[in-house]
């Protein structure tokens, strides 16, 4: 905007395109915009309120509960969340006495989501390639079997999977939290297979004639050519994994494997029952939400455009 060197782009949009033969402002359109603005406010207001509360002093929230700006600005909420306040300071400020260290949970969440995303996307891509391009007997049957997996609601497998993870001795480990979704999801295989089927065979054949092996073709040709859908899938997988609550709630018991969503629930249950530490709670909530919001800021277009039926139908 500020670096105006060529005076072509900006004014052109305004003068040339602005008045197409459109009817004068009609009431319906105005009302529709009013509705849209309300929707936007409803979508974003809770985020602002998290921030406003997180930056307030908890003890001042009673008096200033209807203040639009932070009440008695303070970093105290964040300090409690990251364990920077001593027990007594925290209690005086209205928080719980137990020290909590969200850095640790943040790190756990990053590790689990990275493991799940890396593993799931890579292994699903390999399987998808086998289903799309390799010639082998029973290929379609095995694929149909995979597809049937789409019908099983994830929730049904949670209890038995917990029993399995327990038998494997992986309860309360990061690997235990990640493992069930680390190797594949039927959706990922299906989504990538669709894409691989659309890649022109000719490039591939040319590489094969030149003597490249199929493994090489997969790594050097197919994967780079599919970087866009792979990235989309990876981002969506990361978000899903980051936001998961039910499964980690079952598997993680201590700080060793606790991820942010679960930690947030624990933090909530620790806060004093009468007069909860809302400033601290909202600071923690914001910390849990922020990484995904930042991710969204960077990849908004890709994420928004990925929502449709291309993958499902």
């Amino acid at each position: 905007m500020s670096t105006t060197t060529t005076p072509i782009a900006v004014p052109a949009g305004r003068t040339a395109e602005a008045p197409p033969p459109r009817r004068p402002i009609n009431i319906g359109r105005t009302l529709a915009w009013v509705f849209m603005v309300l929707v936007i406010v409803a979508s974003l207001f809770p985020f602002y309120w998290m921030l406003r509360t997180a930056l307030s002093s908890n003890n001042a929230l009673y008096a200033g509960s209807d203040s639009v700006l932070p009440v008695q600005f303070s970093w105290g909420g964040f300090e409690r969340v990251f364990g920077l306040q001593t027990g007594q300071e925290a209690i005086d400020a209205g928080g719980a006495g137990q020290p909590i260290a969200f850095w640790h949970y943040l790190l756990n969440s990053v590790i689990v989501s990275t493991l799940v995303t890396g593993g799931q996307v890579f292994f699903s891509a390999m399987a998808a390639y086998a289903f799309a391009r390799l010639q082998w007997r029973h290929r379609e049957k095995v694929f149909g079997f995979f597809l049937a997996g789409l019908m099983i609601p994830a929730i049904f497998t949670l209890l038995p999977n917990f029993v399995l993870i327990k038998q494997l001795g992986l309860v309360d480990t990061l690997l235990g939290v990640g493992l069930p979704t680390m190797l594949m999801t039927p959706f990922a295989v299906f989504f990538l297979r669709q894409f691989f089927l659309g890649i022109s065979r000719e490039v591939e054949e040319a590489a094969l004639v030149e003597g490249a092996s199929k493994v090489r073709v997969f790594f050097r040709l197919i994967l780079p050519m599919s970087s866009a859908p792979l990235a989309t899938l990876a981002i969506l997988t990361y978000i899903t994994s980051w936001n998961d609550y039910f499964w980690p709630l079952m598997v993680s018991y201590t700080d060793r494997s606790r991820v942010l969503t679960v930690a947030l629930g624990v933090f909530k249950s620790q806060t004093p029952q009468t007069g909860p530490d809302w400033a601290g709670l909202m600071a923690a909530t914001l910390v849990a939400a922020l990484p995904m919001l930042v991710l969204f800021l960077f990849f908004a277009k890709r994420i928004v455009n990925s929502i449709g039926f291309s993958g499902i139908k």
Binding site: R29, A32, F35, M36, V39, S43, L44, P46, F47, W49, M50, S65, D66, F123, M126, A127, A130, F131, L134, W136, R137, V142, F146, M151, P153, I155, F156, T157, L159, P160, L164, P180, T181, M182, L183, P186, V189, S213, I239, W242, N243, Y245, F246, T261, L264, K268, L281, T285, A288, A289, M292, L293, L295, F296, K301, V304, I307, F309, I312, K313
Partner: protein, 299 residues
């Protein structure tokens, strides 16, 4: 590897070995973490199992108990009520938002803003609304008071609790649903609307006569996805009310969780999971049939 000497042409078009290597990790994941748990979940539903000692087969005991368990029936009722409120509000809002986006602007930023709540977890959504709707200090109740109404105990009044949880989840999911519907709207040719306008049809008429009928297969798919998801509600309840007050928000999934991890009755919990699974299969099938998802009026 050994390509140089062999005659290159009729390449062996059989990659079985390579294929096995390529699908092995995914296949193991599929068998171990999807197929096996499904079968095992069904098996466990016929056993008495407390996780510490091996499961004991007990026939239909769990199912008999389930049929006679008033808490189970109550939680089923609560769940259905939740799904109904959640889906009706969410679908209506999503449809209106999608149509308006189609009509007003197709800018990505707007879609991005509307999708933002979907990016955070259910836990985050539950936490922030727990605060906004707090009886004493919540800004929601302040606003209600300012308008001149009485404060509402959103999450501790048994009449309000399910609609409130449903609304929290609408907040998080409505943007996503709207974008799915919006994607469906892009498949309707603009010429249809031009023709409608020529004939002097109003926006509302066009909505009823063009948009809804042509959107039907997409709506059906959206409904199947959202209803199945809605039946599995857990996170919001676990954070906000833990099933209370009394049992008024004890949805099925929360009851199952409580039975398994609170009381270590994995057998009975599995039986209720099987019931939920069957319900979901039936719901999907019935919806598919009712909405005739396979046929569109376009074509």
């Amino acid at each position: 590897m050994a390509i140089s000497t062999a005659p290159p042409r009729p390449r062996r078009r059989d990659d079985t070995r390579l294929a096995i290597a390529f699908i092995a990790p995914a296949l193991i994941g599929f068998l171990v973490f999807m197929v096996w748990p499904t079968l095992r979940g069904i098996y466990l539903s016929f056993t008495k199992f407390n996780l510490l000692t091996p499961p004991e087969f007990n026939g239909l005991d769990n199912y008999v108990r389930m049929v006679q368990d008033p808490v189970f029936w109550n939680s089923l009722k609560v769940t259905v009520y939740y799904v109904f409120v959640n889906i009706v509000i969410q679908t209506v809002f999503a449809l209106v938002i999608a149509v308006m986006m189609q009509r007003l602007t197709k800018r990505t930023w707007l879609r991005g803003v509307i999708l933002t709540p979907y990016l955070v977890s259910n836990v985050v959504a539950a936490m922030v609304f727990l605060w906004i709707l707090d009886y004493q200090l919540g800004i929601g109740n302040k606003v209600i008071e300012m308008i001149g109404l009485d404060r509402i105990a959103f999450l501790s009044d048994s009449a309000w609790v399910i609609p409130t949880i449903a609304l929290i989840n609408v907040w998080r999911h409505v943007g996503y649903t709207a974008l799915l519907i919006f994607a469906g709207l892009q498949t309707i040719p603009e010429t249809m609307y031009e023709a409608g306008r020529m004939d002097g049809a109003s926006e509302i008429t066009m909505m009823r006569r063009i948009t809804i009928p042509l959107l039907r297969p997409i709506l059906a798919l959206v409904l199947i996805i959202t209803v199945v998801g809605s039946f599995q509600v857990f996170d919001t309840v676990a954070i906000t009310t833990r099933g209370g007050p009394v049992d008024s928000s004890r949805v099925l999934q929360y009851y199952i969780y409580d039975m398994a991890f609170g009381r270590f009755q994995f057998g009975y919990a599995s039986a209720m999971s099987v019931a939920l699974l069957i319900i979901l299969v039936i719901v999907t099938f019935v919806q598919y049939r009712l909405t005739r998802a396979e046929s569109s009026d376009l074509s």
